[in-house]
């Protein structure tokens, strides 16, 4: 595949409009770099203060489009896209045995300090993925919010800018969806659940 900057912008737009093949064509362009970012997550280098994931994604984007000043809408599309790819990479890692493969001695690393009860490479990550798959059907913006804020590691401001909502809205929605995820992943408050069907419904979906 030979992709010019214009091609990438076009593909992003197609993807945004719901063209599924666009995702598959875009993915190779960012996969390797995002893998490196993800690997740094897993190795916990994020705290070494070298670079923020969002700054890295921005860098990837600038390189792909080859422009010094990128169009804001295009950039937002790219971030939501990158966050999705990142989710997929981390999921693949968890599914392939993730943390276990790296030897029992390895400490589990939280996906994000905001949600330390979800850890990279273990079952909680798989559960997160299933939950987001279900949520996608009813509230896709929340899924984007989780992907951007918690998986890619954007700040509330950045997330708001990308989703074109205020920082306050990001924080409010984040709190709601975080609570919902906590209950879902830790199983807290389950006995009170009205639906009570989480286990059965959850196990039947979430597989890509």
């Amino acid at each position: 595949m030979n992709s010019s900057p214009g091609e990438i912008t076009k593909l992003l737009l197609e993807w945004k409009r719901g063209e599924p093949s666009a995702f598959d064509r875009l993915m190779p362009l960012v996969y390797s770099r995002l893998c490196q970012i993800a690997a740094a997550y897993i190795r916990r280098e994020r705290n070494a203060g070298v670079l923020q994931a969002t700054a890295l994604v921005h860098e990837v984007y600038l390189r792909l489009v080859g422009q010094r000043k990128a169009d804001l809408t295009d950039r937002a599309h790219f971030y939501t896209f990158a966050a999705k790819v990142m989710r997929r990479i981390l999921m693949d890692y968890a599914r392939s045995g993730g943390a276990q493969r790296r030897g029992g001695g390895a400490e589990l690393v939280p996906l994000n300090d905001q949600i330390p009860w979800i850890q990279i490479g273990d079952e909680s990550m798989m559960e997160l993925n299933r939950a987001l798959d279900e949520l996608e059907a009813i509230d896709p913006r929340k899924v984007q919010l989780v992907e951007l804020r918690f998986i890619l590691g954007c700040t509330a401001e950045e997330t708001g800018e990308i989703l074109q909502i205020s920082k306050a809205t990001v924080n409010r929605e984040a709190k709601f969806v975080k609570s919902w995820l906590y209950r879902r992943i830790t199983g807290e408050g389950l006995s009170h659940s009205a639906g009570g069907s989480r286990r059965t419904s959850g196990s039947s979906c979430g597989r890509e």
């Binding site: 190779p28 280098e45 070494a48 792909l64 493969r101």
Partner: protein
């Protein structure tokens, strides 16, 4: 509640309720909740459960203590570990991809210290691992005294990837220079050695991508050792389809301070990126400082500084010692923002370093008169070998004119006089004198001197020329010639394509303005066409092919118009014809239709010229070459049908007057035409005629080689001629598809004689270039064929030894990872046909032939024939037949002429066997 079990509306209500109560006190909450849920007990319970989860999540997050970053890890658990056959002894350093350890072979096989790079890539998938393995093999083949060898690599028991490298116990180059207080000169000599290693890797198609002092260690004895060649690429995790050109070139770990603009912007990385990093390194070595300061590692800062900020001259930054302006020029040329403006290869950089070290002018200097004069004076003598006298005379002449020009300026003569000056300079200096100098090897310095002086004059004259069309036209033509000298890739030029484009743009602008003002001004139109043509040639030379072709098309149209007027002179027509020929060359192999049409125009216009002036030899030569080009296009699909055009070309060349035919260029062209014709004749089984053309070509090539026995191009030209000759005789001796009577013994003896001479040429070429795979392969194949002919002639003595040596050479060549497709075919042919039969290795032959066929995308019938033969030798006749049919399907539909092609016949024979 899971969202799928509820409706969107319910989910939204829940969210709204949650939002309203989550931040209020517990007492208030109960009442608010009851009110908001308004009797919906299910919703109420759901909201309560979610609020509890919110509190718990809050607590869990608050009590969370972030783990210490990994870098702070106490001790290193890897020391003493065994990785493959190595035991880790101590930590040498940490990098982006993992850590490097000093290790020792622990299996007792050798006592060898190595550096082990342990790669921590938790996400590396199986495809990445496979590519890692392949690339590692390529890198392991990179053997140079200044490059730390990659010894081994693989996957440890714990699943980590590792690389074992030659351990270099040295200091980073910058620290070495400081510690040994090397002089600038010694630093440049050391740097030149580094460049030599980089150039070697580039010739093996490996780009470093991360050259910096930490990767260039210098041993105590002063030997540099480059580390991590190609590992930046090796360590790019890429999965399957992700292995596109884009990703491969886009992302690597690199060190920002040494990264080129294209690396920062994620554009294509090439050898020019290494040239840039070398420029940064040289800057550091001679000044002790970096050319840029990066205050922060943000993308914006990197883009701003690396892609936009002009680097200072090293001499401005050097604290200690005076830096020569040559070094300034060399460093700044390596640090140019646009890759094409840098040295086009490390070799050129080395050339300039050596020029500097020996006091010759460096190419990086755009050059002023003062600069060259100083250089000449400093060197004391102009070392021009054979043509020294002529060159000296010319230089004296130029100096005289320049002197006059300087006096003229001093006296500030009037504009009219300057027009005269200008004419003198541009017409006399550039065309006549430069034309003469161009033919003298090693005369670039003199040409540069000319160019810089003329450019000065032109730019000044352009400012003064207000509207006089004749003066402006002269200006345009002068800029045109200047562009030619600066960067026409087809003649010896000054290697300054950007400068050439600038000059040509000036010519274009002036000519276009005149054409607009005075429609029908034939001279201006002519100048415009020439400028476009020249511009196209320069663009083509720097790889901007599309633009070049478009510009050349426009040039043909512009030049054609005045050439088709009744009053057109042969010169005007010749310029149009040349533009068409250039267009044909630019689309060669890519657009046969355009190429054919262009050369047909060349011939038509040429014939019109010859009718006007039968002695116009340039036109005659253009006609001949036009026929040859057309013949080549036709021969691609139909060698028999190409013969009439080749015959026309040969007759045309023979009819040239003696003085034209005698030049080296024409001689070589004639030899090429003869050989092409001979190859087509051989294809259709006309061996006698083929041999006669080859013999005539030989009478041209032999004296060229005799004049300079070290001329590798002349040697390889003769080698190919002899090879065609041997093949003709071999085929006729075997009676391959011909009804020509054969004297088997005489033909075999003739073939043997040619092969023996080939052998001595190939051996001589290998002495000049011992690492050249192509010559090595050629030698192996020749040895086998000598053995074959000896057995035909029943001269068994030594035949087996020769064949055995040939087989060994070919097998070694076939195992190379970087190998050209023709060499692979030769390996397969040799291994499938060698006598005695027990020396054959048909399985390896099949493997090589398969590789060659795949490399050519299964589109080359000749390679497919070799594959079919290999299969047959391997005892797999059904596979051989199938492959031969595949090859036949690629041939164009048979016409009476093509029926004769021996390739077709051989494929048909294989398909039927």
């Amino acid at each position: 509640m899971s969202p799928e079990t509820t409706s969107l509306e319910r989910w939204r209500r829940l969210e709204a309720i949650f939002g309203e109560v989550v931040d209020i006190s517990a007492e208030e909450r109960t009442a608010r909740l009851a009110a908001l849920c308004a009797g919906d007990s299910e919703l109420l319970e759901e909201a309560r459960s979610l609020l509890r989860a919110a509190d718990d999540a809050e607590q869990a997050t608050a009590s969370f203590v972030p783990p210490e970053p990994r870098e702070a890890e106490a001790g290193d658990t890897h020391i003493g570990r065994r990785i493959g056959p190595y035991e880790l002894e101590s930590l040498l350093g940490r990098g982006g991809m993992g850590a490097v350890y000093l290790a020792r072979r622990a299996d007792g096989q050798f006592d060898q210290q190595v550096a082990i790079k342990l790669i921590d890539l938790p996400l590396a998938g199986s495809l990445f691992r496979e590519r890692f393995r392949q690339e590692r093999q390529i890198l392991a083949g990179l053997s140079h005294p200044f490059i730390a060898r990659l010894l081994d690599g693989g996957v440890s028991e714990d699943g980590e990837l590792y690389l074992a490298m030659e351990y270099a116990d040295g200091l980073p180059i910058q620290r070495y220079c400081e510690q040994h207080a090397l002089t600038i000169r010694r630093r440049i000599e050391l740097f030149r050695s580094v460049c030599a290693a980089v150039h070697f890797a580039h010739q093996n198609l490996i780009v470093h991508r991360d050259l910096k002092p930490d990767n260039i260690l210098v041993l105590e004895d002063g030997t540099p050792k480059l580390l991590d060649f190609g590992t930046a690429k090796l360590l790019t995790p890429v999965e399957g389809a992700a292995d596109s050109e884009f990703t491969r070139q886009g992302f690597y770990s690199y060190t920002p301070q040494y990264a080129s603009p294209e690396q920062v912007l994620g554009q294509a990385i090439s050898t020019a990126s290494d040239v840039y990093s070398l420029g940064v390194l040289l800057f550091l070595l001679v000044t002790g400082e970096m050319p840029y300061e990066l205050r922060e590692f943000s993308t914006a800062e990197m883009v701003r500084v690396i892609c936009e900020q002009q680097p200072p001259r090293p001499s401005e930054k050097a604290a200690r010692s005076a830096i020569d302006s040559d070094i300034d020029a060399i460093v700044l040329k390596a640090l140019r923002k646009e890759p094409a403006a840098r040295y086009t290869s490390v070799d050129q950089l080395i050339g300039d370093l050596e020029a500097y070290l020996s006091g010759r002018p460096v190419a990086a200097q755009q050059g002023s008169f003062r600069y060259y004069a100083r250089k000449f004076a400093r060197r004391n003598k102009v070392a021009l070998a054979a043509s020294a006298l002529l060159a000296a005379t010319l230089l004296a002449g130029i100096a005289g004119v320049l002197w006059q020009a300087r006096i003229a300026n001093l006296e500030r003569r009037k504009a009219e006089a300057r027009v005269d000056d200008l004419r003198k300079l541009s017409n006399s200096l550039l065309s006549e004198i430069n034309g003469a100098i161009q033919k003298i090897p090693g005369s670039t310095a003199a040409q540069k001197l000319l160019v810089s002086v003329v450019l000065d004059h032109l730019d000044r004259a352009a400012q003064d020329s207000s509207g006089d069309p004749q003066l402006e036209l002269d200006l345009a033509n002068a800029y045109n010639r200047l562009g030619d000298v600066q960067g026409d890739p087809w003649v010896q030029n000054l290697g300054d394509p950007q400068g050439a484009l600038r000059s040509l743009d000036k010519a274009l602008a002036i000519a276009t303005a005149i054409v607009r003002k005075q429609l029908g001004n034939a001279a201006a139109q002519h100048a415009l066409g020439l400028a476009e043509e020249e511009r196209s040639r320069v663009l083509f030379g720097i790889g901007r092919t599309e633009e070049a072709v478009a510009t050349m098309r426009s040039a043909t149209a512009v030049l054609e118009e005045p050439a088709s007027r009744p009053e057109a002179t042969p010169e005007t027509m010749m310029d149009a014809s040349s533009a068409y020929a250039s267009l044909g060359d630019e689309v060669e192999h890519r657009d046969p239709e355009t190429e054919l049409a262009a050369y047909r125009r060349v011939i038509e216009i040429g014939e019109r010229i010859v009718r006007l002036d039968p002695h116009y030899s340039r036109a005659r030569r253009a006609i001949a070459i036009g026929h040859m080009k057309i013949g080549s296009i036709i021969a691609e699909t139909d060698p028999g049908a190409a013969l009439p055009d080749y015959r026309e070309a040969i007759e045309g060349m023979n009819a040239l007057p003696e003085d034209t035919r005698g030049t080296l260029l024409t001689q070589r062209q004639f030899a090429i035409i003869l050989r092409k014709a001979a190859q087509s004749l051989m294809q259709v089984g006309k061996y006698r005629e083929s041999l006669s053309d080859l013999k005539q070509a030989e009478t041209i090539e032999r004296p060229i080689l005799a004049a300079d026995p070290n001329d590798a191009r002349a040697a390889s030209d003769l080698l190919e001629l002899l090879d065609n000759e041997a093949e003709c005789l071999e085929n006729r001796a075997e009676g391959v598809f011909t009804n020509e009577p054969a004297n088997r013994t005489a033909d075999a003896a003739g073939a043997l004689k040619a092969l023996l001479e080939e052998r001595s040429i190939a051996e001589r070429l290998l002495r000049i270039e011992p690492d050249n795979v192509n010559w090595r392969c050629w030698l192996g194949a020749i040895l086998i064929r000598i053995g074959l002919q000896q057995s035909t002639l029943h001269r068994k003595e030594g035949a087996v030894e020769l064949a055995t040596r040939g087989v060994a050479i070919l097998k070694a060549v076939g195992r190379q990872s970087h190998i050209q497709v023709y060499d692979l075919v030769a390996v397969a042919e040799g291994l499938a046909s060698v006598l005695p039969t027990q020396l054959r290795d048909p399985r390896f032959a099949v493997e090589c032939a398969e590789r060659a066929v795949e490399m050519s995308h299964r589109r080359e019938p000749a390679f497919i024939l070799t594959l079919a033969e290999s299969y047959r030798a391997a005892g797999r006749p059904e596979k051989a037949r199938a492959v031969a049919k595949e090859g036949l399907a690629l041939l164009p539909a048979a016409t009476p002429a093509t029926l004769l092609s021996s390739l077709r016949k051989q494929l048909q024979a294989e398909a039927a066997k």
